[in-house]
Amino acid sequence: MQKTVILGVIGVDAHVVGNKIIAQALKDGGFKVVNLGTFVLAEDFIKAAIETNADAIMIGSLCGHGELDCQGFREKCIEAGKGNIHLVLGGNLVVGKQEWEGVHKKFRRMGFDRVHPPGVAVKTIIADLKKDLGLADGT
C-alpha cells in the first residue's frame, strides 16, 4: 500500500527550491506526495492530512522562525483526530549558532518524530521516512 506524505514549507517562508527537490525525491521513493508548497499554515497541513488520510506530514522551515511556527503542531493534530500521524521536520530551524543537540531535543519534545539537521542529505530523509513508516528500504 502506497504511503501518503503531506509536504510543505511552514509559515511566512518562500523557500521553494528544497521543497521541490524533496517532493521529487519522495515520488521517486514510491510515496504519494501532496505538496502544499510554500506559505503553509499548520492548520492547512492537518486539513490536507485528514482529507487524504495521510501517513506522515513533512514540514520544512527555513526562515529561522521554526520554533514559533511549529508551536502546538502535535496538539493540533491530536485535536483533529490525527494524533498518531508521523511528523517530520527539517530546514534551518533556528537562527544563530545553537548546539544541534539542544535544538533537536527541543523539537523532539514538541512532538516531532524525526528532526533533521541543516544540510541533511536528501537520501537520508527518504531512508529515514521509509524506516519510520515500516517500509523495506529500497536503496
Binding site: T4, D13, V34, F39, K47, I50, E51, T52, N53
Partner: protein, 464 residues
Amino acid sequence: MEPDHALFVDFGSTFTKIVLVNLATEEVLGRVQTPSTVETDITIGLKRGLEAIGEVLGGPPVYHHKLATSSAAGGLRMVAIGLIPDLTVEAAKRAVLGAGAKVVGVYAYRLTEDEIRALEKAAPDIILLAGGTDGGDRENVINNAESLRRSGVKAPIIYAGNKAASDKVRKILTAGHKEVVVAENVMPEIGVLKVEQVRLIIRELFIKRIIDAKGLKNAEQFIDSILMPTPTAVLNAAKLLAEGTPNEPGLGDLVVVDIGGATTDIHSIGLGAPTEAGVIPKGLPEPYVKRTVEGDLGMRYNAANIVLAVGKEKFCQQLLGMVVDLDQAVEKLNRKPDSLPGQKEELALDVELARTAARLAIERHAGVIEVAYGPLGQFLIQYGKDLRGIKTVIGTGGPLIFGPDPETVLKETLYSAANPFSLKPKEPALYLDEKYLLYAIGLLAELYPDKALRIAKKYLRRVH
C-alpha cells in the same frame, strides 16, 4: 408564418418572461412578462404570456423552437456535504453553485442526528455527497452514506467523493432505496477541483426528475422542453460572450452581475491569475467559470439585510436624507416584493440598495490580497480571483434593468483605491442586458452559438 421564430421562456418565481427572436434576421421581436402561476398551474400564466407575445406577430404563431429555463418553485435546491470545510466541502459547494443550483444546506465532517433532521426538513431536490481525496479518507464519507441510508431523505444523491469508497457508498445507499449516481471526485487531489461531470449530472437530473417533481412538466404541452435552471443559462451566456465561437469573436474574460429580489449572483469567466508580479496565489484553485450567490443581498425579500450589512447609520448617510423613515420603507419592500419604485424617495432607496448589493457581492466574489511579513520582507498573498484586468462587466436582473440608474449601480463593482486589496475590475466597459436576454442567449447557445453571440452583442447596451 416563417419558421424562423424562436421563443424563450423563463419561469421565474415571481414572473414568467417570454422573449421572441427572429433567428434569420437576428432580431428581438418582443418580450412579455406575466405573473408566474406555479402555485396553481404553471400553464395558466404561460398561456397568458404566449397569447400576448402572439399578438406581436399578428397571426397564428408558429415557432421553430420553444425552449425554457426555470427558477420557479424555489429553483433547483441542493445540499452539499463534504469532509473538511475548506477542502471537499468547499469543492462540493462550488460544484453546486456552478450548476446553477441554490445551496440550501452545507455540511462538514460526520453528519449528526440533528443535521440529518435539518436535511430532511430542507427537502432538497438533489444531494451532493463528497469527502476524501481519491485514495484518501473513506471512513467519514461511508459513515455519512450510512446516515443518509437510515434517513427519510428522498432526493437523488450524487456521490462525488473518494473513488476508493464509491462501490461501498453505492451499495449502502442502494440498500436504503436511495437513487444514487456515482460521479468523478470533485476533489481527486488536494488543490485539484473537478466539477464538470457533476455539473452535467445535475443538469440531467434536473431535466429527468426535477421538472416533473416540481409540477412544471405540464408546461411541456406548450413548449419543447425546460432545459436548465435559469442561472445555468445565464452562466452559459456569460461563457459564450467571453469565449466567442470559432466564427465570432467573444469579449474576453468578463463578469456578470445579476441583482434580484432575493439574491445577488456574480458570475465570472476567467482564470483570475495574479496580474501583478511577485504575488503568490494560495487556497483552492478557482474555477474558470465561477458563480457565487449572496443569499442575504436581495432588493426585496432581503432589503433589510442589505441595510444591516453596511450598518443603518452608514446606509442613511449614503442616502443623503432622501428617505425619512428607512425602517418603514424597507419593511414595505419586503411586504410587497413585486412593487416597483415610483416616488423620488423609493427610487433613491432602490438605487442605494442596488449599489450596496452590487458592491458587497463583487467584494465577496473577487479575490483579495493579504500582506504577510517575514524575515525576508513583505510578501503579497492572493486568495481567490484577481479580476483587475477584466474588460467587461454586464449587469442583469429586474432591479438593475428596470431600475432608475444602472450606471451608478454598476460602477460600484469597480476597483477602488479606498479598498486596494479587493481585486475588482479596474477599467472595464459596463454593459446593461436591457432586453433581459441573457437566459435566452444561454438557451440559444446550445443550438446556434454564432447567432446567440451576435444577438447578445447587438442588444447589450454600453452604459459606461
